[in-house]
Each structure stands twice: as structure tokens, then as C-alpha cells.
């Protein structure tokens, strides 16, 4: 459909269903927003479930939260916020046609995203070593053990879903970097991918206090 078109940093081919570039951009952007609204409800379901159990079993969830590493969780939050900043810089660079800066900022975003995933993987390993992964190997002494398992289950589902979205986002960044290197990027695609990246960050900004900051309130 568009392969034969000339390419360049500001060139965005018009797909055949659209009348004008402005319309295409509007449609693509709205498409991402609608998709993100779906995502809110997707995470909303499991967050609701978590909130209900947290209010039902506050002591157990307190214990569960205590087994998570607050320092590592805080570090992950800082890293993600920084990656949102570099993503915003990428969008700015793309809009102004600053290709080298675009590549640099996208690469930084990717590195920060991967650093987040690395810390997450480390944390999973830590939980695994403590035998807190729900299932037959789960082992914890104390009266609330069964509800702690419920906490860990929600921890894995919520952060697992989030990590999956991060991995998809990282893949997206790799594509954007390749396009930027070949000088074939569309100037608003970066912005649309940015919307997704920021959304995934915002999800984490809900998950972090819900899962990690249980302890602080009672200190």
C-alpha cells in the first residue's frame, strides 16, 4: 500500500481510507486513547479484587506487603518516572525532527524500562526463594498464612500484567529506534507510543502504593 512512497523524517503516508493527514492523525491518536480506556478497566478488575481482599484481610496483607522490598520498589518507581521523562523528550524530539536526540531519548527510555524489568525479575526471584509463590510450595508460619497467599497471588497477577505491558512497550521502543535509525519514522507515531508508555507508568503509580506502602502508614 505505501512501500513505494518516498520516506523522510516528516513524511507520513496517507492510508487509503483517510481523506487527509490530520484526519489520520486524529484517528490514530483516538484509537490509542480508546485502547487505553479498555486497559483501565482490565487493570481495574484485578485492582478491585485486591482492594476488597485488602479491606477484608488487612493484617494478612500487611504481613504480605512486609515481605516485599520497599527500597527496590521505590527504585523501580524512580526508574519508571525517569523513563516517562525521557519518553516525553522523545516525543518532543520527534515533533521537531531532531533525529539523533530522538534516538538517544528512545534508547534511554528502553534502558530504563529494561532496568525496571530487571529489578522486577530480581524481586520475583527473592519472593520465590522465600517460598512465598502461591501454590503447593508456598510456605509461611503464622495464623494469617492462607490470606498472605491471597496477597501474593494478587501481587503476582498485578505486577505480572504490568510487566507484560512493559515488555510490549520495550518491543515498541525497539521498533521506534529502528525506524528512527532508518529515518522512516512517522512524526506522530512516537507520540502515540508515548501515550502507551505513560499509561503503563501510571498503572505502576497505582500498584506501588497499593502493594508496597502498606507498612508506612502504621510506622
Amino acid at each position: 500500500m505505501v512501500e513505494a512512497e518516498p520516506v523522510g523524517p516528516h513524511h507520513t503516508p496517507l492510508r487509503e481510507q483517510f481523506e487527509a493527514l490530520g484526519q489520520q492523525r486524529e484517528a490514530d491518536t483516538l484509537g490509542m486513547w480508546v485502547f487505553l480506556s479498555t486497559e483501565i478497566l482490565f487493570f481495574g478488575g484485578v485492582i478491585t479484587s485486591y482492594m476488597i481482599y485488602r479491606s477484608l484481610f488487612a493484617p494478612a496483607f500487611h504481613i504480605g506487603s512486609g515481605h516485599l522490598d520497599l527500597v527496590s520498589g521505590t527504585a523501580m518507581t524512580v526508574i519508571l518516572l525517569a523513563s516517562s521523562f525521557t519518553m516525553a523528550l522523545s516525543v518532543h524530539a520527534a515533533e521537531h525532527g531532531l533525529r539523533r536526540r530522538l534516538m538517544l531519548c528512545l534508547a534511554l527510555t528502553l534502558v530504563l524500562g529494561l532496568a525496571f524489568l530487571g529489578l522486577k525479575a530480581h524481586e520475583y526471584y527473592h519472593v520465590y526463594q522465600e517460598r512465598l509463590v502461591p501454590g503447593s510450595r508456598f510456605h509461611l508460619e503464622g495464623p494469617h498464612a492462607r490470606e498472605v497467599q491471597l496477597f501474593m497471588m494478587h501481587y503476582f497477577i498485578m505486577t505480572g500484567m504490568h510487566a507484560l505491558h512493559m515488555i510490549i512497550g520495550a518491543g515498541m521502543l525497539i521498533f521506534l529506534i529502528t525506524y528512527a535509525a532508518r529515518n522512516t519514522y512517522k512524526n506522530y507515531t512516537v507520540e502515540i507510543c508515548g501515550l502507551y508508555w505513560h499509561f503503563v507508568d501510571i498503572v505502576w503509580l497505582f500498584l506501588f502504593p497499593l502493594l508496597y506502602l502498606f507498612e508506612l502508614r502504621t510506622r
Binding site: L30, V34, S49
Partner: protein, 541 residues
């Protein structure tokens, strides 16, 4: 590959004949061809679901369990529900008629994202394959609602396979909804303001909003069920501190709005049919349009009426009951406005109009009995009885399937370029109307007398009503098979359809050929008139 995308529009050949070969269908991005792909897929699934219903009705001729073992019977009604809800009703009007018509009705060459549209169909097909595999390895016996902890711990059937099928199916629905929303917002032709949109577009827009906002909750809920079942950990299991009622809340937070996915598009079809065959502008356009949005909104606030006897608090029950009554208001507005449109119209009783009139009557019955079950006290009496079964079949089959049949006949000349045989079509419509009522009216009686749903056996005094119901189902089955034959027949032998055989308003009739060219219009039309401008005369095209 053309270097200039607009060259396609000069191609004089219609969308059915512009390309040939299986690949030109399976990998098409033309919304009209994708609509045909959906039409074929869901017709297949309709008859699969119908086969399960047939077995259920045959088993219920006698009070004992003789044709099917109770375990098999449980799988039959479950698979009937799963196939009909997710593989026929939800995609029916949106994915077939909506896909075909929405771009044309708003004056666009295609949906906003044609390739995502194709992806929707492929996801639907993948999920369909999964559900067929589930059937062949033995099916599911949990009921289409997958209530926990039965579905997660005790059922010996293939709940995970079925949940996976529905999970994938959900993404197909979400992507269709996303495409419709973006198309209606950004692809309208010059002059096509929001308040000039045909009501079919309004109702599908409202449907799309529900698809996008409700379906992800089902996805995460089924994911939780799958995780609990596979890893044997407690989320909804009381033995591990989980709460089965939470499952019901999450499930119905999706599934009650999903009921409106299964009726709103039908209402859109009926608005088109009633105006076209009364030759009048719709009575109260704004009210009908905004009633669709109101139903979509209220639909998210009433899920708790499925939990009246599940252990939900009485106060929650009272609020949900009250909110459920609220849904009756926009629904009644629509029925009154259709009726008022008929008043002093020049009514033509062609087949689509017969279906539209049947819809109005049957939907009214389904809706009014909905008020019975929304009342806390009455619901305790009829909960989980055949009264509920009859109620939702009056909406789903009497409403949605009837509207789908009406819409399919109405737009068949546009889709196929041929007229269907009117005589046969009227006979089929009559069989469906009579067969439907004979099948489901006795079930109201049975339910009120106390026959519970989902049992293979029943006390002998209920037999006469069950035999009547099964007799009706056999007439209904004939009524659904007949159109399959004559619609196929008409594709080759039917009278060639003119551009606007019904002299109906709307861009798809006035500005597009029958069948339309690949990009729908020779050039994008400019809209200068309101919808349903029958009083000004309609351009025949």
C-alpha cells in the same frame, strides 16, 4: 501496489468482483468483505449453538433423563449458552451489519483501522476454533456463567479451554468496538454531523462503548478463574479465604452490560426499518439517539440484580433493583417512538417490516417481564426458573435475532446485489414468529409454576408445557433453516437489485451501488439533509 491510493476508487467493479481467490477474502481489509467473513462464521456458530438447543429441547420432552445423561445435559445447555452469547449474539449485528454499514452510513471509504478489523475477525476465528475444540474434547458443564468455586475446583469438564476461547473472543469484540468508536468520531463525511447520523450508527456507537469498557473486565475475570483452576490457588475459593461472590460481581459487571451489546444494535436496525417502511421521519430522533447512550450508561450500574439471592446485602439489592427499573425508561422511549413513527405512516408490510414489528412486540414482552425479575420480591420467587430463561430469550431471540433477520433481509440487496424471494421470506418470518412464541411463552408459565432451569429432569405435571415448548422449537428451527436456503439461492437466481429498492434514506442507499464498489462511493458524499428525510422525498440514486 499503486503509488497513489486514490486510484482504487475509479475501479468500476463492485466489492464482490474486484478481486477473486481465497486469499482476497481471508486477507481482505475491505470492511464489506470482512462483514461477509463474519456472516459466514456466525451463521456456522448459530447452527452449532442451535444443535445444542435442539438436544436440550429433545431431552425435555419427557420428565425423566432418557435421551441425555444429566452430566451430558449440563454440557449441552452450557455449550448452547457459550456459543450463542459470544459466538453469535455479540458479533451478530455489530460485526456483520455494523461492519458492512457503518462506514457507508457515515460516508467513509472504510473503517478507521481496516487491518485491525481483519485482526478482529482472525481473533474471532481463532476463538471459534478453540470453542469447537472444547466441544469435541467434551465440553463444559459450568453454565455459560462459570460460577466459582464449581468452575475452578469441582467441575470435571474443560473450563480452561472454554475460558481461553472466550478470552480471545473478547479481544476481537474490543477491537471491533474500538474501530467503530474511532470511525464515528473521525471518519464522518462533510456535513454528516452527529445529529444527522442514522440511528443504527448511534446504537452501534453506544454498543461499541460497552464493548470497550466492559469486555476487559471479563478478560481479567476469566484470567483469574484460569489461574485459580490451573495453579490451584485461591482467589475465589472460600477454602483459601477467597470470595465466590466477588466472582459474580466481576462477571456480571461485564455480563450485564453485555446484555445491552446483545440488544442495542437490534434497536438500531429497527429504527431504520420502521422509518423506511412507514415512509416517515423517526418520531423524536434525539430521544431515540440519546436513549441508546442512556441504556449504555445505565447498563453499567445494574449488575447486582443478578445477585439478589447470592448473599449480597439487602441494601445493595434495593439500590440495584431501583437502578434496574431505570433501564426501562430509555427502552420504553424507544418503543413509544417507533410506535409513534408508525402512526399515520404509509406502512408497507415487506419482510423486514414484519421482523421489525415482531421485534417491537417481543421486545416489549421481554422488557416488561424484565421488570418482574428486577423486583426483589418477585425475583426470589422466579429466580433460576424458566421464567428467567423465557425473559432473556424474548430479548435475545425475540429481540436481537429477529432484528438481525430483519436487517439481513433489508440490506441483503445491498450486500449481495440480489433481491431475496419475498414469498418465501414472509413464510419464514411467520414460522419464526409463531415458533418462537410457542417455544418460549410456555416457559414463562413453567417458571412461574416453579420449574427450575438447568435440570435434565422435572416433575411429570410440567410435561405438557415442555412438549409445547419443544414443538415450538421445531417450528422455529424450520423458520431459521428456510432463509439459509433461499438467501443462498438468491445470490445466483434472485432478481438483480436496483441501487435503492426500498426507496429508503441513508447514504448506503442513495449514494452507493448495489453491491457497492470497493471504496463504497465514487466520491465522498457531502451531506446536506437530516437522517430519514422521507417527507422531502428520497433520492433514488
Amino acid at each position: 501496489m499503486s503509488t497513489h491510493p486514490h486510484l482504487h476508487r475509479d475501479d468500476p467493479k463492485d466489492y464482490l468482483h474486484c478481486e477473486y481467490g481465497i486469499r482476497s477474502w481471508l486477507f481482505t481489509t475491505d470492511h464489506k468483505r470482512i462483514a461477509i467473513l463474519y456472516l459466514v462464521s456466525i451463521t456456522l456458530m448459530f447452527f452449532v449453538g442451535g444443535a445444542f438447543a435442539t438436544l436440550v429441547r429433545l431431552e425435555l420432552i419427557t420428565p425423566q433423563s432418557d435421551l441425555l445423561q444429566p452430566e451430558t445435559y449440563n454440557r449441552m445447555f452450557t455449550m448452547h449458552g457459550i456459543v450463542m452469547v459470544w459466538f453469535f449474539l455479540i458479533p451478530s449485528i455489530p460485526a456483520v451489519l455494523g461492519n458492512f454499514l457503518i462506514p457507508m452510513m457515515v460516508g467513509a471509504r472504510d473503517l478507521a483501522f481496516p487491518r485491525i478489523n481483519l485482526l478482529s475477525w482472525w481473533l474471532f476465528t481463532a476463538s471459534g476454533v478453540f470453542v469447537l475444540i472444547t466441544i469435541f474434547i467434551g465440553g463444559v458443564d459450568t453454565g455459560w456463567t462459570f460460577y466459582t468455586p464449581f468452575s475452578t475446583f469441582y467441575s470435571n469438564s474443560y473450563a480452561v479451554a472454554a475460558a481461553l476461547a472466550i478470552f480471545i473472543n473478547g479481544f476481537s469484540t474490543i477491537l471491533t468496538g474500538l474501530n467503530f468508536i474511532v470511525t464515528v468520531h473521525t471518519m464522518r463525511a462533510p456535513g454528516m454531523t452527529w445529529l444527522r447520523l442514522p440511528l443504527f450508527v448511534w446504537s452501534n456507537y453506544a454498543t461499541a462503548v460497552i464493548m470497550v469498557l466492559a469486555t476487559p473486565v471479563l478478560a481479567i475475570t476469566l484470567l483469574l478463574v484460569g489461574i485459580e483452576r490451573v495453579f490451584r490457588v485461591g482467589i475465589f475459593d472460600p477454602a483459601l479465604g477467597g470470595d465466590p461472590i466477588l466472582f459474580q460481581h466481576l462477571f456480571w459487571f461485564y455480563s450485564h452490560p453485555a446484555v445491552y451489546i446483545m440488544i442495542l444494535p437490534g434497536m438500531g436496525v429497527v429504527s431504520e426499518l420502521v422509518t423506511a417502511f412507514s415512509r416517515k421521519r423517526i418520531f423524536g430522533y434525539h430521544f431515540v439517539a440519546f436513549a441508546s447512550m442512556a441504556i449504555a450508561l445505565f447498563g453499567f450500574l445494574v449488575w447486582g440484580h443478578h445477585l439478589f439471592v447470592s448473599g449480597q446485602s439487602l441494601y445493595a439489592g434495593l439500590v440495584f433493583s431501583l437502578l434496574s427499573y431505570l433501564v426501562a425508561v430509555p427502552s420504553a422511549i424507544k418503543v413509544f417512538n417507533w410506535t409513534a413513527t408508525l402512526y399515520k405512516g404509509s406502512v408497507l408490510l415487506a419482510t423486514p417490516m414484519l421482523y421489525a414489528l415482531a421485534f417491537i412486540g417481543l421486545f416489549t414482552m421481554g422488557g416488561l417481564t424484565g421488570l418482574f425479575v428486577a423486583a426483589l420480591g418477585v425475583d426470589v420467587h422466579v429466580h433460576d426458573t424458566y421464567f428467567v430463561v423465557a425473559h432473556f430469550h424474548y430479548i435475545m431471540v425475540g429481540g436481537m435475532v429477529t432484528a438481525y433477520m430483519g436487517g439481513l433481509h433489508f440490506w441483503w440487496p445491498k450486500i449481495s446485489g440480489r433481491m431475496y424471494p419475498e414469498g418465501w421470506a414472509k413464510i419464514a418470518a411467520g414460522l419464526i414468529f409463531f415458533g418462537f412464541n410457542l417455544t418460549f411463552f410456555p416457559q414463562f408459565v413453567l417458571g412461574y409454576l416453579g420449574m427450575p432451569r438447568r435440570y435434565a429432569t422435572y416433575p411429570p405435571e410440567f410435561q405438557v408445557w415442555n412438549v409445547l415448548s419443544t414443538a415450538g422449537a421445531s417450528i422455529l428451527a424450520v423458520g431459521y433453516v428456510v432463509p439459509l436456503f433461499y438467501l443462498f439461492w438468491s445470490m445466483r437466481y434472485g432478481k438483480i437489485a436496483p441501487r435503492n429498492p426500498w426507496r429508503a434514506s441513508g447514504l448506503e442507499w442513495e449514494e452507493a451501488d448495489s453491491p457497492p464498489i470497493k471504496h463504497n462511493f465514487e466520491e465522498v458524499p457531502t451531506v446536506t439533509k437530516e437522517a430519514y428525510h422521507y417527507h422531502e422525498g428520497v433520492r433514488l440514486g
